[in-house]
Symmetry: C2
Subunit: 328 residues, 2 copies
């Protein structure tokens, strides 16, 4: 049996039909906030490639938006938000969150209805640490220096921010599940590079609280954690302590190692190099067969180690699907 | 006995006396290429803080410069080089390399003479993979996508480029040792994020050939490897196979783990978070005492996990020295 297969950022710029909707919408944010458009681009890659799951087209910055931070998307530079000056600025009213994010839950409900019953519908959110870093820095940065320094210099205020984010993220994931999501993924895109003590405090512990909170109302909610860039030590702590059901593994981590170290506790998901999908040919074939070989006999979801790149030829994605599906 | 102590980028912008020389020189490159200025900034931090080692003020882009690539430094953006189009463009004449890099070797000889006999003089070079990535991309990038795609799509030409860099880097390190360096550090700044097979092919194997080549003429040359961002799996392969005597460990890696997994094969060097040095206070004190605790009884060099940041208060560096020196 081939493993289930979907790709992070499978709804994206490499698809001509996505580009057409993007052009029509005028902006990335409009696509996220207009349910018909979000549903359309969510379903496009499943239609074209018959993936086993759709992931809702949305953005991790929905939470800062729900909390009242100003978010804008600029072509080329990625999203920009007004840097947070004080935790008190944040809007803690859950009804306001709900009304700001209503289009996301509509899109989820409509996408789940439109998707075939044998396909999984995945919701998602940014993890508390990654969101905190974004909210403090105002934009994506290579090393999150301002956020890390803020956390060192203001440990109490930083802990308070993480707490707010645990609550808001748990609520956002719960609402996605109530709207039809079969599973949710928590993206900790900036979990890499943290000292081990900080990884424990800022990644493992908030994620554990987030999963516990989500399970309070939704005990059977399936959660995929993705602490990108984590060390092996960090991945073991994450698998052992957070309560997630599955873990996304990035491209730098050995799947042989992940199968034996994590595979008994969580379903492993990953980890083809997105650049191997751009390159195609023997690089792609070898990449796929190495992964299938490493994961034989272990519960596994085939995915990339990071999102699909805009430069990816669509025929390479079709080839990937063919390679994975023809696996014994 | 406290461990020996030096800091990556200890000669740098956080020091007012460095800023004064930088202003006088007019450019970073002029400082590198004017032996009196390079020697002066090399010695400044040892004078001020009594570090146990000086590292020659220079740059990893000396090798692309030696090979005939045009290198320029722009304030704010970091160094820029003309992206390599074909390996044949590179100047393979070793006499040309020697004459282009003569100021570096003069600076090394003069710095060694000026430095107290009980202080170690360290030379350095970029590792082949990191240099190849820089030469292909033309500038520092977060994920080296163009270089990795080039390597996937042109494996033979990429292997040829790594071979040239192994040769040029071995020669550059040998000339620094002949000029007075007591040890050399190989910076693989972009070793992180590579799939395990690529880490083996692009980081471990070229470094192994580099160390072997250097040891041919200089069997007792001491080499510190710094594969920044490597996974634990990668660090073990690097420690076991490359032949380096010591290894720099970045901030994300547990020193407890490094002491037990690597400490029998190599001297471990690291890994205080540079941001803990910016923050100071209890964050700095706890960081130092955790490291000293983890490394008790293991051969060890105290350093940061990455370079000193420009925002670092000089009094925090003085405090760090005091904390390390007062260790039992």
């Amino acid at each position: 049996m081939p493993p289930p297969l979907w790709l992070m950022r499978q709804a994206g710029r490499y698809l001509p039909e996505y580009q057409a909707v993007r052009k029509q919408a005028g902006s990335f944010w409009t696509m996220c906030m207009t349910p018909e458009l979000a549903v359309e681009v969510t379903l496009q890659p499943v239609r074209r490639f018959d993936f086993d799951a759709a992931i809702l087209f949305s953005d991790i910055l929905m939470i800062p938006h729900a909390l009242g931070q100003k978010v804008r998307f600029e072509d080329g530079t990625g999203p920009i938000i007004e840097p947070l000056r004080a935790v008190e600025e944040l809007d803690r009213n859950e009804e306001n969150w709900e009304s700001r994010l209503a289009p996301v839950y509509s899109a989820m409900a409509n996408a789940r209805r439109a998707l075939a019953a044998d396909k999984a519908m995945i919701g998602f959110a940014g993890a508390p640490w990654t969101l905190a870093a974004y909210m403090i820095e105002g934009r994506g940065t290579a090393e999150q220096r301002d956020a890390r320094l803020f956390a060192y210099q203001n440990p109490q205020e930083f802990a308070q921010l993480l707490d707010i984010l645990v609550g808001a993220t748990a609520r956002h994931l719960a609402r996605q599940i109530e709207s039809g999501a079969d599973a949710v993924q928590v993206f900790d895109s900036w979990a890499g590079g943290l000292p081990p003590v900080m990884f424990q405090q800022w990644v493992v512990e908030p994620t554990k609280r987030l999963v516990a909170k989500l399970h309070t109302g939704h005990p059977r909610a399936r959660v995929i954690g993705f602490p990108r860039g984590a060390t092996q030590w960090g991945l073991e702590a994450y698998a052992g302590e957070t309560g997630v059901d599955a873990m996304g593994i990035d491209t730098a981590t050995s799947l042989h190692w992940a199968a034996s170290a994590l595979g008994k506790r969580v379903v492993v998901q990953g980890n083809l190099d997105p650049l191997a999908l751009v390159a195609g040919g023997t690089v792609l074939e070898r990449g796929v067969s190495d992964i299938l070989g490493a994961m034989r006999g272990t519960p596994f979801i085939f995915n990339l180690g990071h999102g699909v790149l805009p430069a990816t030829p669509v025929e390479h994605v079709a080839k990937l699907v063919e390679l994975v599906r023809s696996a014994a």
